[in-house]
Amino acid sequence: MNKSKDNLFMNSFSHIYIEKSIATHPITKKVLHRFPHATRIEVNHYKDVFCRTRQNFFLQKNSRKLILAVKKDRFIYPGTKVCQNFGNEHFYYTSSVLNCIYECDYCYLQGMYPSANIVVFVNIEDFFSELESLLQKHPVYLSISYDTDLLAFENVVPFASMWIQYARRHPDLQIELRTKSVNYSAIRHLPPSENIVLAWTLSPQEAINEFEQKTPSLNARLKCIKQSINDGWKVRLCFDPILYIEKWQEHYKQCIQETFSILPAEKIKDISIGVFRMPRDYLKNIRKNKIDSPLLHYPFECKNGIYSYPEQITRQLIDFVYQMIHSYVPSEKIYL
């Protein structure tokens, strides 16, 4: 294209689609106040926009729209087998926002959703009340930043803060807020709590440059994590997905060394490690439209419907990263 992307595409959130029924919801008002110049379009149901056929996720990424909707049925889901449960029996996840402002090449959302537009379910109070009934039955471990990066989105909708405040009142609830963002300042005013884990995904700077578009640098993430540890938050580090990239040993070695040169290893709650993996259908969907990603066009092997690197490469990646991390933290803190 001779015209630069910025000249061709409208800004993200240039349009906000709003379900009729939540036009006056406080969160709706907040979002509209945040984007006073956005074109507002009334819709009956968010799926009328989000689930249109033949949308092109990769083109839409250049000008994402916001969709404000109400979630009507299920709010909390049991965790799937591809997710790490960190030894928690009652593992659940929830998605108050669908899609993410970052553009990681390896993100499964690109294959899972028909659209790159971001859906915000404004009725967060209904999520809380379903959780309330679940908590009556047993303790709950809940991943709240599941199909999005909630902290990165905090300046649009303050859901991370709301979840943290909710969790503080419910000691039987453990929540994990996973992020790549450095938007810690948005929740820093809240006192840390024992039952909240802030989980940061870390990658070598080379992988960030190449495959994690729009996300903050490794160094910026580490500084932000350090601050949160100093403030007393429990922190989890996630080296996930580990990518089989050129000179991967060198890059991961450097990344882990940098991590522990900045962060006090003994203050890290735990660490998770995982290699790139993606359900077969999602990868198929992505490959159809995304023809510029060598990462996703790697000849992965499919096992039980999940694509990943061949066994031998997976083992090499995991062993290497595990050993490196193990030189800083004990094995019981490392989850595979």
Binding site: M1, H15, T39, I41, R52, R54, L59, H297, Y298, P299
Partner: protein, 273 residues
């Protein structure tokens, strides 16, 4: 697609379109990369004409469809001759709604179009949801959406009246479209740019070569499919042409098992370079 010849005339001139002989009742005009059909009035006519044109030209997902025409405006916020890009289209009768993807910058006013199956006048304003009204948009969109992605379907309407009963002359309709050709062309050019980035990484020559190799090596359907996949991945990962496969054009397998051996060789080459 336009509803009337008077709407089409300035476009036919501007794009130097030639009338093509047709067996159907529709008038079609075309050039190398633009085709125009005149549907006649109404939702159904618009849907049929659109589907007909898109089928006739075997559109690809990187082609774009436009409905260009005049519309009425429910308020005087926008003046006569204002070009409107519709971001929501309501079919008044069925209440079905359509949402084109507005991804690119443009210089048109945006608004909601409501398509009626009868002319609409001022005294009906209370029944109208949209900011603009016409008699074709929803039919056009519904038909085009069966072929094209929502970022390649555009309804561009020029405000011609404020629901008064007086009729516009054909000359004035043409004039309204003619005046807006620059803004319409800018939109079309940007859409072209948007679509340029997309397509298949394998060229026609690549497909010919892969087809030939598959025949020579007596590959099964599955293996042929895999061969194409490996070739795509190779081009994307290594940013190279498929020149490394040329030697296989001169190889012929005498049996399926011999073909399989060659297939494994090719696979190794494409996967591990």
């Amino acid at each position: 697609m336009t509803a009337f010849y008077s709407e089409a005339k300035p476009l036919i001139r501007y794009f130097c379109l030639k009338k093509i002989p047709q067996f159907s009742k529709y008038e079609i005009y075309s050039s190398q990369d633009v085709a125009l059909i005149i549907s006649g009035t109404g939702v159904l006519a618009a849907a049929i004409a659109t589907a007909h044109l898109l089928t006739l030209y075997q559109v690809k997902s990187t082609d774009a469809a436009f409905n260009i025409g005049i519309c009425g405006a429910t308020s005087t916020d926008h003046k006569h001759g204002t070009p409107v890009l519709c971001h929501k289209i309501i079919h008044h009768e069925t209440k079905r709604t359509y949402y084109p993807d507005i991804l690119i910058k443009h210089h048109l006013v945006e608004g909601t179009l409501e398509t009626f199956s009868h002319p609409v006048y001022k005294n009906m304003v209370s029944t109208i949801e949209g900011n603009f009204v016409d008699m074709e948009g929803a039919g056009f969109y519904e038909a085009a959406a069966s072929f094209l992605p929502p970022h390649n379907i555009y309804c561009v309407k020029i405000v011609s009246d404020f629901l008064e009963e007086k009729k516009l002359s054909q000359r004035m309709v043409s004039e309204l479209i003619h005046q807006n050709i620059p803004v319409i062309c800018e939109l079309i050019n940007n859409i072209k740019l948007l679509n340029m980035n997309f397509g298949d990484i394998l060229t026609e020559n690549d497909y010919d070569m892969l087809h030939q190799i598959s025949q020579n090596l007596r590959l099964s359907v599955t293996m042929t499919h895999q061969l194409k996949q490996f070739a795509k991945q190779y081009k994307i990962r290594y940013q190279k042409s498929l020149a490394c496969l040329r030697p296989f054009l001169n190889v012929t397998a005498k049996s399926k098992s011999e073909g399989k051996i060659y297939f494994e060789q090719i696979k190794r080459q494409l996967v591990h370079e």
